[in-house]
């Protein structure tokens, strides 16, 4: 039978707390909400950040994955949570972005003094916390069905955020998002059913030991990966993303674009490297990369042609997601001793992290610009720089990362991917990365050029934006830039707890 692969390690309880703390907060707000939504959220946010950091520290200290076996029931019968270097990184990223977004949203989602409870704050904060728990579960889960529940949790938190303002477009976008995500979920679940039928386990470690090429495995992985692609909005399955991410309030868009679409990608990564039979299937990896290439080129061009700022940023998200899918053939063709030591892997993860920071900052900046100007039509952004100078600067800095220009995390990520692609002679990927960079620069500069132009006569700022909100946005952008100073080589931390590949 299965070897006893999991043992609760010291500090494992942190994982449980990482998953449960936001839920406790969410329940508390739901039950006692009445004016306290924000206050409760602001207890949970730093707490969660602290937990995430503690987990990362524990992973770094022990040099091994942190594990918790729930109820002591050994997988595959029971469920285990495990944080390796990659999950710990993503959890810290999630915590950071959520804290930043929380600070940003403080002003906009507080309960008005004359009401006992208002809809927007109550809903916003509970959903945010639900989303956090879902993300942490996605990053920690080791059981494919447990991950299904986590994905659903994520969808249920994300969809209502889209239609918070109740306008027709956003309700429409939310429904589309929900329905398409549901197809993705069902595909994922179908695959899980097939895998269970074939191997009698849904535990990843168990599957890794048993999985071999047979029709059940192929069809299951095909369904699951494509289902997850639909949730990650990879071209041509991006129909739901632009309206949803553009329609949500800025704070929600930031989280949706920065984190929520990354969760399904993370699962694809895990399915591919931790579950699929090894050695991997080159042709399938190429297929994933080609979809990535199309995403990059096609959606960047569309982003360039958008009229509204938030739609532009949303399309840019689809394009940037494309970069992540380039990782598969690059890692597989690399001659590094294990996938985790290849430059392509590191580049992919760095792209994920830096895009998350940059995109969060960009959406928040766009939100502030729209608040100050009362609209977000790119052609009319003149004067934004006088109204919200720091936000425009943050937009530019975040843009640096999207364009892949130094110094920025995006640059290092793209440089690593480019190096990996050159080393493995994947010239189409090389071309896509370069073209994508040029297109991204074009759409970012188009906005910057407008925003920095002199204001028109009669220009006036509609709303005064408190300084701290602008500083939050700037902080996110700066962290994306600071990532550009990481060394250009695989990081040992990202390989901790990963199983070596042949």
């Amino acid at each position: 039978m299965m070897p006893a692969g999991y043992a609760t390690s010291e500090g494992g309880a942190l994982l449980v707390i990482a998953v449960m703390l936001p839920i406790v907060g969410m329940i508390a707000i739901f039950a006692l909400g009445l004016r306290r939504a924000e206050r409760i959220a602001f207890i949970i946010l730093p707490g969660g950040l602290f937990i995430a950091l503690a987990i990362a520290a524990e992973v770094a200290r022990t040099g091994a994955a942190v594990t918790y076996v729930l109820g002591g029931w050994q997988p595959p019968l029971g469920i285990a949570l495990q944080a390796d270097g990659l999950s710990a990184t993503l959890m810290v990223l999630t915590a950071l972005i959520l804290c930043a977004v929380g600070l940003f949203a403080r002003g906009t989602f507080s309960t008005p003094p004359d009401m006992s409870e208002a809809r927007r704050p109550m809903v916003f904060w509970t959903l945010m916390l639900g989303l956090w728990s879902a993300l942490n579960t996605v990053f920690l889960g080791q059981d494919l069905f447990n991950l299904f529940v986590a994905l659903e949790l994520l969808t249920f938190s994300a969809v209502p955020l889209v239609c918070l303002d109740g306008r027709r477009e956003t309700v429409q976008a939310a429904l589309r998002y929900l329905l398409f995500a549901l197809i993705g979920s069902v595909f994922y679940l179908l695959g899980a059913a097939l895998l269970y039928g074939a191997y009698g386990t849904l535990d990843m470690a168990g599957l890794r030991l048993q999985a071999h090429y047979n029709p059940a495995t192929s069809v299951a992985l095909g369904l699951m990966i494509v289902g997850l692609m639909a949730k990650a909005a990879l071209f041509p399955l991006h129909l739901w993303l632009p309206p949803a991410h553009a329609g949500a309030p800025a704070a929600a868009s930031a989280v949706l674009s920065a984190l929520v679409v990354k969760a399904p990608f993370f699962l694809i990564l895990r399915l591919w490297f931790d579950v699929a039979p090894q050695p991997g299937n080159q042709l399938a990896a190429q297929m994933l990369a080609w979809l990535g290439i199309f995403s990059i080129v096609f959606c960047s061009i569309i982003a360039l042609r958008q009229v509204r700022l938030k739609l532009m940023i949303a399309y840019s998200t689809v394009a940037q997601i494309g970069y992540l899918f380039l990782v598969f053939p690059l890692v597989m063709a690399s001659d590094a001793p294990s996938a985790w030591q290849s430059i392509g892997w590191t580049g992919g993860v760095l792209q994920l992290v830096s895009h998350a920071l940059a995109k969060a900052s960009m959406f928040l900046a766009a939100g502030l610009i729209a608040e100050a100007l009362g609209h977000d039509r790119i052609d009319n952004l003149n004067g934004a720089v006088t109204a919200v100078p720091i936000s425009v600067a943050a937009f530019g800095l975040a843009g640096l990362s999207l364009m892949g220009l130094p110094p920025s995390g995006g640059f290092v990520a793209k440089l690593m991917l480019l190096t990996a692609a050159t080393e493995t002679a994947n010239w189409w990927i090389v071309a896509a990365i370069l073209v994508g960079g040029i297109l991204a620069a074009s759409y970012v500069f188009r906005v910057l050029g407008r925003a920095m132009a002199a204001p028109k006569i009669g220009f006036k700022t509609l709303a005064h934006i408190p300084l701290y909100r602008e500083l939050v946005v700037l902080g996110l952008a700066i962290s994306a830039v600071v990532l550009g100073f990481v060394p250009l080589q695989p990081f040992a931390f990202l390989g901790i707890g990963r199983v070596g590949l042949p």
Binding site: R176, F180, I183, F187, Y213, P215, T217, S218, V219, L221, G222, L223, I225, V226, G227, M229, A230, P236, L237, H238, L239, P242, A276, N281, Q282, L283, A284, M287, L291, F298, I301, I302, L304, R305, V385, L405, P406, P407, L415, L418, T419, T422, E423, V430, L434, V435, G437, I438, A441, S442, F445, G449, M452, A453, A454, F485, P487, L488, Q489
Partner: protein, 544 residues
Amino acid sequence: MMDSGLLLVATLAFPLAMVVACLHPAFYARILTWLPLAAVPGLLAALFERGDSIVIAPAPLRLTLALDEVGAMLLGGASLLWGAAGFYASISMCGRPGAGRFAIWWLLTLTGSLGVFIVADMTSFYLVFSLASLAAYGLVSFEGTARAQRAGFVYMALALLGEALILLGFVMLVTAAPGGNPLIRDAVAMLPDSPLESPAVLLLILGFGLKMGLLPLHVWMPLAHPVAPVPASAVLSGVIVKAGVIGLIRFLPLEVPSPDWGMALVGLGLITAFYGVLVGLTQSHAKTILAYSTVSQMGVVAAIIGGGMTTGAPHTAVLAAFYALHHLLVKGALFLGVGIAGATGRRHYVSFVLIPMALLSLSLAGLPFTSGALAKLATKPLFGDGVSALLASLSAAGSTMLMLHFLGRLQLLANDDHEGIPQRPLMLVWAVVAGASFIVPWALFANVSGYALADAIQPDALWAASWPILLGATLTLITTRFISRMPTVPEGDIIVVLDKLAPLVMRIGSGIDRTDEVLRRWPVASIGLLSLAIAFGTVLQFGR
């Protein structure tokens, strides 16, 4: 004299610190006043620093600065021009709306453009190179007119293309060298053994050539340089294009004889040199003519580097840098001079403007006793004795014609106010740059070229320098009428062809929009989903 490397660090850190200080409104309001100081550390570094790499951040980052002879020459010249132009700007831009914004772009561009001369590792080079390229967009498009916007757009598009080419070239270089971020010289040393040598060299030539304005990637230059305010034009045309020169010098394996690449570069350079002259002759704006002259002169520099590369001549880098330094100072002075000319009335035109400008102009063509003559003399051996040497001399004749044409158009700029004289500080600054353009090359000549100063005033040398000018002057006399009747080639010449493509591009764009609209329809996207799932499952099962 100073603690080793401190000045080099300050070269980059000081202007950046000024940018950061702009966050303080009080400083931001007076930023223009401080503009001239930004380049001072760079100038001091060029004068007093010499030596090996200073590692600012240790491995694995390896942010490394170094200043060799080539770097010092160009850094000194560039800092001087930045300082002088900064002073000019602090007066001429004073009180204009958006001056603060201008200053920030200025400082960023300055940092990048000085940085390319002193960084020694690949990543930092790319960083400062991009900074110089992209921040210059702010200077190009500053005026905000339709013309400036178009120029800015073209500039940006091509700069980004150049960035992409260079990045890929770098990646190919780095894949040959071990470690994440090698020093430039290590990477270049490994290049001849790399299987990717040819594509890497090609990409680097294209990328840096674009920055220098080599045909056919020069189209941005005649658009971008003239539209900026005068001091910005001076540094754009004087300094920024040298980022391409230093790129070629640093990244091409010049010490290894490679006749194929060398001849190709010579050919490209000379063609560019003549092309710049020919198109420049049809232009009517003084600043545009100067921009075309830059295209032409950078062609000559490329040819010099190519000539050296053919034989693997040992001093190619230094000689090319020397020529570049000459052009840097002279072109800077010429652009500033255009500003001076605009402020001078008829009365003082000849003495204040025409004579100095004529000397400067003909210096570009190699007028004896000017820096141009020295530069041409020093680089002559690289061309050998064959056709390319003759063509190089003929290009000087071309330059003569172009510069005479420039002088002719310049007087149209003279101030309506008959008595007008430019502000005294502006005159002074201009005089400093113009003076430096004469003196500095003389000071360096013996050191750089291996000739004695006396060699430069031998009759042979004088004749070699003079005949192209005489030829050019004669040709100008003959063709004046003809040229004045020639139709004006639009600025940016072949960009016009691309303009014709604009509707096509728009059509493709809206085609993509429509495709996206179709793809985002529910049934289409879900059919895509089903097909993908089937395809993916099939590939997983059978595609091994």
